[in-house]
């Protein structure tokens, strides 16, 4: 397994980094400020954990899927799953958006002590993300709302290990769920396996932190209360009112590394949660493992969540969106490889050929 300088050359310098944070804090060479993630000093370690855990270095994702979701029916569009539901909270949690599903799943984890800590992402200014380890139900509120800026939240894994957290729950973006799986898949034989519950979020892209500067420049003196994409356009709520930015304007701030992501729905998570486009107030939930189903069942049992059937039409739309992302980014990846970026997936595999085929069919 290669080391830090390889990561620097293959990932940092080719801007494929997804800012998942998996390489941070274990290693003293890799430093982060806002969305910059660099080698601050040259590393001389030939083989590195950083390289082994990175979602943008080569991995056999099929083998990883087979390891962690062995019995789950395969699906080319949205990854392995048992079931897809419409879910919403029975009662609200302050600050939540959409269906409040994630907050209630986390609450269930904490009440039933399914994990000793939950890795969440909060934001004091409602813009810049701050990952933290929640150990208390009161902490959940701090994480309510959507984060749009990329955050290297997985750095907190090191803090959790230092605090002797045996069972950890993680709410993360697809790249982070991938990194967590890789972290365990490539762990040294003398290390114990990670005991995780993973709640994956749907993610089309993350924004670079220069978007924050853009907001400050465009809405000077205004205190931002929330960001969101309720239906159409990017809504910035401030103490002075509501501003709607065209999505295309916002997308200019997309993190370059997000353009190499083939996963919209956190395909390796125990349970994935995202928006339900057809009706406000609901979430889409994809159950991928027995652990995920168990968690959802518990939350429903507690009357925290209401679970309903998922309309066929919506499922097709979801799959279409996922294939769309995959296809777009396959093209980016192809272009990057052509420019000399070291291949981190096997573009010739049967799976990607199918993705292209499905995407073609969609266009027709």
């Amino acid at each position: 397994m290669p080391g830090g300088m390889d990561l620097k050359n293959e990932v940092f310098q080719s801007s494929t980094c997804a800012l998942c944070g998996a390489c941070l804090d274990w290693c003293p060479y890799i430093a982060n400020m806002e969305d910059h993630l660099v080698m601050r000093f040259d590393c001389n370690v030939g083989e590195g954990r950083c390289y082994a855990v990175c979602p943008r270095t080569y991995a056999d994702w099929q083998a990883i899927g087979d390891r962690y979701l062995p019995d789950t029916p395969r699906n080319i569009e949205i990854g392995p799953y048992f079931n897809v539901f419409r879910v919403k909270a029975a009662a609200g949690i302050k600050g939540q958006q959409d269906g409040g599903t994630v907050s209630n799943l986390v609450k269930t984890i904490m009440e039933d002590e399914l994990a000793q800590a939950v890795l969440l992402t909060g934001s004091e200014d409602h813009v810049t993300p701050e990952p933290f380890l929640a150990v208390d139900i009161d902490d959940i509120e701090k994480a309510a709302g959507s984060r749009f800026l990329a955050s290297p939240g997985l750095r907190k894994i090191i803090e959790a290990q230092a605090n002797k957290v045996q069972k950890l729950a993680v709410v993360g973006r697809p790249c982070q769920i991938q990194a967590l799986r890789k972290m365990d898949f490539n762990r040294r034989p003398d290390k114990p396996p990670l005991d995780l519950i993973t709640i994956g979020l749907f993610c089309m892209w993350s924004l670079g932190w220069d978007f924050n500067e853009y907001l400050q420049k465009n809405f000077p003196g205004e205190k931002i209360l929330s960001l969101g994409i309720p239906q159409h356009g990017f809504v910035v709520k401030t103490d002075k009112g509501e501003h709607i930015l065209p999505l295309d304007e916002v997308k200019k701030f997309n993190k370059a590394g997000c353009g190499y992501c083939l996963d919209m729905t956190s395909e390796l998570a125990d349970i994935s949660v995202g928006a339900f486009e057809a009706e406000k107030g609901w979430n889409t939930v994809i159950v991928r493992s027995a652990k995920g189903q168990e968690l959802l069942d518990k939350a429903v049992e507690k009357d925290y969540l209401i679970c309903a059937d998922y309309p066929e039409e919506e499922l097709n739309r979801l799959k279409g969106a996922s294939i769309g992302k995959k296809n777009r980014n396959l093209n980016n990846i192809q272009a990057a490889f052509d420019k000399g970026v070291k291949p981190f997936i096997d573009l010739n595999s049967e799976m990607y050929a199918q993705v292209r085929k499905l995407a073609e069919g969609m266009v027709k």
């Binding site: 003293p28 430093a31 400020m33 806002e34 910059h36 601050r40 590393c43 590195g48």
Partner: protein, 634 residues
């Protein structure tokens, strides 16, 4: 040592450092005023005079820069008070305008300017030869060849200065300033004259009207030098060759002549008054020979002045050899007894047989690790350079860093992660940054940083800061404030709150000065690596001039003041060679206190050199470095 330079024991011989001898000479001359800016190898002189000032009834100050020092001495001289001004060769260049002007106005009370050159630039950025300035300014100059002469010349310098009503320069070199030898003490004056009243029509004015007077003074100096006891010839009456030498060259030459058994063939003409040269005296002796070798430190200054004399005296039929052209002697670099002896052996065809030495074939020689200069254990500069380097890497904007002169000049080397892109002279960093910072108007996008120490800030950065502010340059000016002039041995400066005489003074706040100029100022602790990194990161994003003061006291001072905490490595926690950090603490942080326990394959603290700053604790990814006890940091 203070007790030695003030000892009232005429005729007593002590081992004295050259700098002690100079201070003693000034005390024997009855100075009441001394001013200097520190610089190796001259710094000990004023430090000692400051310590004895009260006892010896004189005033001594560490001036803010060399121009302040020289002009302060001119003020004292105007009131007929004898004064001593001290600087190193770089300082003499700072003071160039004042020097050339003062030679026109002349002086009233004796004024001796001691300039210490640093051949081979042991602790300098260059080995500039100060003697050119004496000639250029038209000032008489003396060059001591040993410590006794250093004392005697400084003392006599005052008589000469008052006789000529002119400033007298004494040029020394590192081996005189920092060497030690026997010095026989003279008498200390019982009384010193008080300053005179300056009358309404008294003048000390430097304008070109006085050029003729200045020339007359240098001519008079020449005739005085013709009979000076500081010049002497020793050797046969018809030598094969005469060595003309000054300063350290004299003893090297004598030793070489002895070692080669050439006493009957070679004469040595020692010159102590190297500008203006005693022309008649030199001609008289050079007529004895056909070959002249000039041995002197740094430039062929004496040599080319002698070449001038030869050109004006057709009766001299001599071949002149020396450093000029680099044929007989190396063109640059410090002299030593081997260079002088080997040159003499070659020119005279004599063989030298020294003691028998072993020759170790290269393949049998033990490979020795080079002893690079580095920051001391616990030095705040190490932390500053570490965090600046990492911020520039994180910022990904390829910042350009303009360095300056002080301990932190080492930041341009490995100790500072090779941070500097630019290095010139004291105050050079901020001005170069100002210039580059103006290029944003042409699309230049890189962040520009200038670094300077606290002493350098006062010495030469103030006009630069005003300039940068007034013209609103896009740059970050970082003051590395370690509350010391550490490079040269901890002389107080205006930010410290203490004078050369050990008196309390109101310290001048760098922060307030910069704020008064209108700069936004951030003060941060370099030991808080991550917190200060964020601050620097944020500052680099802002346009215009920003000032950042990285404040943490010099470790060498801290260790004298507080109880040292114990820092150690919990080797159970240290990841060691086995997994992971690649010896980050010792390899990257590079503090002499962080060493490697090769047997255990783990990190270790060298508790003898560690001063307990504790910064490495925050850098260890495994949390293996621990601290207990001790007083709080700065």
């Amino acid at each position: 040592m203070e007790w030695m330079i003030t000892a009232d024991e005429p005729g007593r011989t002590y081992l004295m450092q050259g700098n002690e001898a100079i201070a003693r000479g000034a005390l024997e001359a009855g100075i009441r005023f001394a001013a200097a800016y520190p610089g190796s190898p001259s710094s000990e002189i004023l430090a000692m005079l400051g310590h004895v000032a009260e006892k010896m009834d004189l005033y001594a100050e560490w001036s803010t820069n060399e121009t302040c020092a020289l002009e302060a001495c001119l003020g004292a001289s105007f009131a007929r008070v004898r004064s001593l001004c001290i600087m190193k060769q770089n300082g003499l260049l700072v003071v160039g305008d004042a020097l050339h002007s003062a030679s026109l106005s002349g002086v009233k009370g004796g004024l001796v300017l001691v300039v210490a050159d640093d051949p081979s630039a042991h602790s300098s950025t260059n080995e500039f030869d100060s003697r050119h300035q004496a000639r250029s300014a038209g000032l008489p100059m003396l060059e001591p060849a040993n410590m006794q002469e250093a004392k005697d010349m400084v003392k006599w310098g005052y008589e000469l200065s008052e006789q000529l009503q002119q400033l007298v320069m004494v040029r020394t070199v590192t081996r005189i300033n920092h060497g030690r030898s026997s010095v026989s003490l003279g008498e200390l004056p019982k009384e010193k004259p008080d300053p005179v009243t300056i009358g309404e029509w008294d003048r000390m004015v430097a304008i070109n009207w006085f050029k003729d007077a200045q020339i007359a003074k240098i001519d008079q100096a020449k005739s005085i030098f013709e009979t000076s006891p500081f010049n002497e010839y020793k050797g046969p009456e018809e030598p094969d060759m005469i060595i003309v030498t000054c300063g350290t060259g004299w003893l090297y030459s004598s030793e070489a002549v002895e070692a080669l058994g050439l006493r009957d063939r070679i004469g040595i003409l020692k010159i102590g008054t190297t500008y203006p040269l005693p022309e008649d005296f030199i001609v008289k002796h050079l007529l004895k020979t056909k070959k002249v070798l000039v041995i002197e430190e740094v430039d062929p200054f004496l040599e080319q002045n002698i070449a001038g004399i030869i050109a004006y005296h057709p009766e001299l039929q001599v071949e002149l050899l020396g450093r000029y052209g680099g044929k007989a002697m190396p063109r640059n670099g410090e002299l030593n007894p081997d260079i002088v002896r080997n040159t003499l052996a070659r020119l005279t065809g004599t063989a030298f047989t020294g003691p028998e030495t072993a020759v170790i074939p290269p393949e049998e020689a033990v490979a020795l690790p080079a002893r690079e200069l580095t920051f001391c254990a616990g030095c705040p500069h190490r932390a500053s350079f570490f965090l600046l380097k990492q911020t520039l890497r994180i910022q990904e904007g390829q910042g350009v860093v303009m360095g300056d002169i002080g301990c932190y000049t080492m930041g341009g080397q490995r100790a500072g992660h090779y941070l500097y892109n630019f290095l010139c002279c004291m105050g050079g960093g901020i001005n170069a940054a100002e210039g580059m910072g103006q290029l944003t108007r042409f699309g230049f996008k890189q962040p520009v940083l200038a670094l300077a120490g606290d002493s350098t800030f006062f010495h030469s950065c103030l006009p630069g800061l005003v300039n940068a502010k007034y013209h609103d340059s896009n740059m970050l000016f970082v003051v590395l404030d370690n509350s010391a002039t550490a490079m040269t041995g901890f002389q107080p400066h205006p930010g410290i709150g203490q004078t050369a005489m050990g008196k309390a003074a109101e310290p001048i706040s760098i922060k307030k000065v910069a704020e008064a100029i209108g700069c936004p100022v951030t003060v941060a602790d370099p030991f808080d690596i991550s917190g200060t990194t964020s601050k620097v990161y944020d500052l680099l994003k802002q346009p215009g001039l920003k000032v950042l003061i990285l404040k943490q006291e010099c470790a060498t001072l801290v260790v004298r003041k507080r109880e040292k905490p114990r820092v150690w490595v919990d080797q159970e926690l240290c990841r060691g060679d086995d997994c992971g950090c690649g010896r980050f603490c010792s390899r990257i942080w590079g503090c002499p206190g962080n060493i490697w326990d090769y047997e255990a394959g783990k990190a270790k603290i060298d508790e003898v050199v560690c001063v307990g700053c504790g910064v490495c604790i925050s850098l260890c990814p495994a949390g293996a470095i621990k601290m207990e006890g001790g007083g709080a940091c700065g």
